[in-house]
Amino acid sequence: MNVEEMYQDIILDHYREKHHAGLREPYGAQVHHVNPSCGDEITLRVDLDGSTIRDVSYEGEGCSISQASSSVMTDLVIGRSVGDAMSLFAEFTTMMESQGRIEPDEERLEDGIAFAGVSQFPARVKCAMLSWSALRDALARAGATFEESR
């Protein structure tokens, strides 16, 4: 695995032009997460409609991996049920912790599979997970119920 492969076009695309970026109204909960070792941060809002995620909006600072991951995550979860989003979270986490040993399911993770390469660089896994952890936290605070997968 070399660094060129890690910086896949999908990642750079999302980095250059983030989807669903910016903080929007209305929202049910807002959280602020940081990656203490590097200073990457994200402020994230969720808006729920029953058990459906109506919107996820965010503002952040960070490297291409953390930025692109936020963008990909919002593509994946907006419009889904909380339960579904949390299984995607679990699948994404499993992939990121696999150190490249798991072949990700493109049907499910869509652009998220581009991060499989990142999973081989343990120090960057936290970057890719930042927005997802913020999402889970925000959902919990917005009153969504789901099983703690970890």
């Binding site: 203490p36 070792s37 941060e41 120090a123 960057r124």
Partner: protein, 421 residues
């Protein structure tokens, strides 16, 4: 040197420890001071060298290749230690510099919510490291320190404690040695923990003398926190461990500040990282964690069950052999039942310092003094004692060498003193 059982290959184990082939004052080293610090197998020594020579970098914060290797090694060691004590997850393992720091961490963070009227319970047989931090915590907060006394057999006096209502609704913390470093007593932690938990108290165990010698399962022990120290379990100096239940560690305030224990830092105030990093300020003992991880692998390869049986057998032989010397008086339980491997004793007419020096002249290394348990010695109306303590590499013939040297030392010293009369 004989092996203790057919599958415990003591000769091979001894060859793993380079220092055991040393000569001291012209005699082969008989190292019976393992309760003080253990010796190190070659694999541990080499792992530390290899780490510095090939993978050295700072952890977490350094994301380059060497940083990733060092971080993987450091966090890998945490996972090994977690497994070694059957912790629920690696995040419950906090690396400190030694047991003493681990116990101070417990006393400061649990101490932060103590109030006047609250009670902290320890025992009279504690090592200073599980006493002084609680004395200081009580001084800071106005809480009251209370303690278990011991029976004439050197066990916690549970009946007296019951009578006095030692553990009651005011009890906030109970902190006790799992195994005494002087008397060898193994304390009934589970039973006491159940009692303390019934009143909502937190139970801390000082496992410094337990974890190296006995298979450890924090769930079975029944406590909420467990402190232990690398150098007594074949690992390097400069590293200790505090295990704590996640729910407890999560809610405690931080102890030392700085470095990577933070969430966000502003001049006006800061937030904290998740456990375990919340409690690990500054550059951690990286190479020492690597060494401890290998030590734990080494112990597990031999098997903690096998080591416990071996240590038990050596202790039994020691108790028996010392029992045959009428000028030697063993302290603590004289039968190898619920008993760790520290055996402390006094010798008629020879002060422990003099004894230690005389034994050393024969290559036999024991400790003389109060063994950092001054209140216990005071309780027993003596100011010091001698202590012999074996470990996985100790042999029956080393115990015999101890007894021979004791006989010689007693005769030499009392004889010379008498000759002057």
């Amino acid at each position: 040197m004989n092996s203790t059982s057919d599958d415990y290959d003591i000769e091979t184990i001894r060859r793993d420890f380079p220092i055991l082939s040393r000569q001291v004052h012209g005699h082969p080293l008989v190292y019976l001071d393992s309760s003080n610090t253990s010796q190190k197998p070659r694999v541990v020594i080499d792992a530390i060298s290899d780490h510095y020579a090939q993978h050295n970098a700072n952890v977490a914060r350094a994301m380059h290749e060497l940083g990733a290797e060092a971080t993987a090694a450091y966090e890998g060691a945490r996972a090994k230690v977690a497994h070694f004590v059957a912790a629920a997850e690696p995040a419950e393992i906090v690396f400190t510099k030694n047991s003493s720091e681990a116990l101070n961490l417990a006393a400061h963070t649990l101490g932060a919510s103590l109030r006047p009227g609250d009670e902290v319970v320890v025992s009279v047989l504690e090592h200073h490291s599980n006493l002084v931090p609680w004395q200081l915590a009580c001084q800071r907060t106005g809480a009251t320190l209370r303690w278990f006394d011991i029976t004439p057999q050197g066990r916690l006096d549970l009946e007296a404690a019951e009578r006095e209502g030692l553990i009651n609704e005011h009890t906030k913390v109970v902190s006790l040695a799992w195994v005494s470093n002087v008397l060898g007593t193994v304390n009934p932690l589970r039973r006491i923990a159940e009692q303390a938990h019934a009143y909502g108290a937190v139970v801390v165990a000082d496992g410094s003398q337990g974890v190296p010698h006995l298979p450890t399962d924090v769930g079975t022990l029944g406590v909420d926190m467990l402190a232990f120290t690398g150098h007594k379990m074949c690992g390097p100096t400069g590293i200790g461990v505090l295990w704590g239940r996640r729910a407890l560690l999560d809610e405690l305030p931080p102890f030392l500040g700085g470095g990577e224990m933070i969430g966000e830092v502003r001049m006006e105030g800061s937030t904290w990282a998740e456990i375990p990093h919340k409690f690990e300020a500054g550059t951690p003992p990286i190479a020492q964690a690597v060494g401890l991880g290998v030590a734990v692998d080494y112990l597990e390869t031999i098997g903690m069950g096998a080591i416990a049986r071996h240590d038990h057998q050596i202790t039994a032989h020691m108790l028996e052999a010392l029992g045959e010397l009428d000028f030697v008086h063993v302290m603590g339980p004289d039968k190898p039942v619920d008993r760790g491997s520290a055996v402390s004793f006094t010798v008629d007419g020879v002060h422990p310092h003099d004894l230690m020096q005389l034994l050393d002249s024969r290559g036999v290394a024991v400790r003389g003094g109060h063994h950092c348990a001054e209140p216990l010695h005071r309780r027993l109306s003596i100011s010091s004692s001698a202590r012999a303590s074996g470990y996985l590499y100790s042999t029956d013939s080393e115990v015999d060498a101890l007894c021979e040297a004791l006989t010689w030392a007693h005769a030499f010293f009392t004889g010379r003193v008498a000759a002057r009369a």
